[in-house]
Amino acid sequence: MWRSPVRRFLSPPLHADGVFHSTDPAGGSGGEGPASRVTKTELRRELAEHRQTEAELEDARNFLDSVLEHLPVMLFVKDAEHLRFVRWNKTEEEALGIDRSVAIGKSDYDFFPEEQARFFEAKDRAVLTGGKMVDIPEEAIQTAHRGLRFLHTIKVPVLGTDGKPKYLVGISEDITDRKRAQEELARAREQEAEIGFRIQQTLLLEQPPQDLPGVRAAALTIPSQRIDGDFYDFFNHRDRCLDVIVGDVMGKGIPAALLGAATKSHFLQALSRLISLSEPGTLPEPKDIVTLAHSEVARQLIELESFVTVCYARLDLVNRRLDLVDCGHTTTIHFQAGTGTCRLLQGENLPLGVSEREIFEQMSIPVEPGDVLLFYSDGLTETRNASGELFGIERLADCVGRYGRLEPRDLIERIRLEAVAFAGSERFGDDLTCVAVRIEERQLPQARAELEISSDLKELARARMFVRDVCARLAAPVDEDTLNQLELAMTEAASNVMRHAYSGRTDRRIQLSAEIYEDRIVLRLHHLGQSFDPDAIRPPKFDGTEEGGFGMYIISQTVDEVRYHRDERGRNCISMIKKRR
């Protein structure tokens, strides 16, 4: 019964008090003829009918008024000509803090900053000219009592009987809180990614040892938006064995990262406990380390409904053997230098956290100098190209076969480039981790020496003397040019440590070591000062306009290789390697 007034709501004028007034009674069609022609009875009847209709209309209007008034959204009506408010509901009053008695008859310019008012007016005009509803997903509005708010607004033109716009109806919803919540959520996600990334960098991924006799190792990590809990670690056993442990936790995000960190620490604990129980000079077997670590984490993993794939590899550099315990991890790739081919190593063990009673089997494979072992997370092999194809183990093994003779870090860079080319993107859906370890010819040094000096520049002469002395111990002497270059490299490196790493303090310690092999001389400086970023050093000027900045350049020109890394005791180490001619 209130349908008809609703339709009419769109045409009858509204009055400044915002309440509908009837000037054109709905039942007026019968009131055309002169009253004289109508009988009194008829007139009375018509009048009664008219009153009846009026009353019904009044009810309908009140009903409509009440509905509009209590709508939980903001509602206003403006006249089309001057864009002045003619209606203003309760929610609008509350939301904007403007009473209807103030608003009615005024325009946006009376309440809002000019820029905003102009924006509203432009939208209003567009709606009226276009004759169609316009949806404004977000508009800013400066309120007197609640600061800046954001509204989602719909504006509808209301046409008069002449077909011209008569009114403009606006319905707005305050989306400020929702918008803030969304922003908050986005920030929280970003923060989570950041925390995950930090966990990954600090707890999960160790830098491979840089300066181990008998092996060369390199690692690559490309983090994705949400971390995976991939981890790896290296344990060096007195330069005789290198343990490499790589793992991957099921799941993503901070829970996976924490589980990865916990699993890793259980391995460390298991290793150190078993070492302390071992006979001196013997090492616990990888399968025993895995068994002990597993007994610590299995229950928790099962309770958390998670599992961890792990590959525990021990490279025995003395006996040239690889002992491997593969617990459901990705297939290890073994590049054999002798044939230039790749062999795939896969064990039968279940991942950690699947069965509490798992008995771990270990396999042993002979390795030769030049052989490379490649460990990686499934993020690498499960990288997909545009047509959904997987990168896969064949492609990876093929790549290792082609570039297996490169330095491990160059091999890894080749793998990265191939994966990027395949995926067509620098970014990957999953974390991508990859560790390459190459077995080197194991040599014993012909001479070695160590010396501790203080960080006083006056000690530089002693550092040079140290180099000269160790070289003098050889049966076949080092030529004078090489000796001069080694002295220069040692002086520049030590001087950098004293002046920069120790900021000029003279009471700190620097440990020097020298090892001379058949084919190379290795000089090392260990210190506890600030670490260097060699990439941050710009090349020197050779035109005589600057007196400094030659140190790093001199080092790079006098030795064949310089490496900056952390040694096993956590000291910063500069290793300089010069080939012997």
């Binding site: 520049l457 530089l460 002469a461 001087s495 035109d543």
Partner: protein, 118 residues
Amino acid sequence: MELTTETVDDVTIVVLPGEQLDAGNAKEFKRDIAAVLEPCRKVVFDLRELRFVDSSGLGAILSCLRQLNGKGGDLKLCEMTKPVRALFELVRMHKIFDIYVTKADALRALRQREESGL
């Protein structure tokens, strides 16, 4: 640092003392040589004693060149030992400095320069 000088005509010859000029003594050298160079315009550094120079030592010698060039003076190096020569070549400073084999060569070069009116 004790710096002994010898004057031939208007040329000051300084024999750089000690076997090494490195970060350990470069500052001291720089300070003391600046005072020596103060009244001079034409200078020869005799490097026969030096067996070792590092980048700081080189920087100190470079500062002498700049000090003299700054006031229209001249610095020649001579009697360089092999390892010192190697360092100069390594950082291409043999192209910046005028280096002569003997002291006599260095003195002759300074004199010729004068005669040719340069």
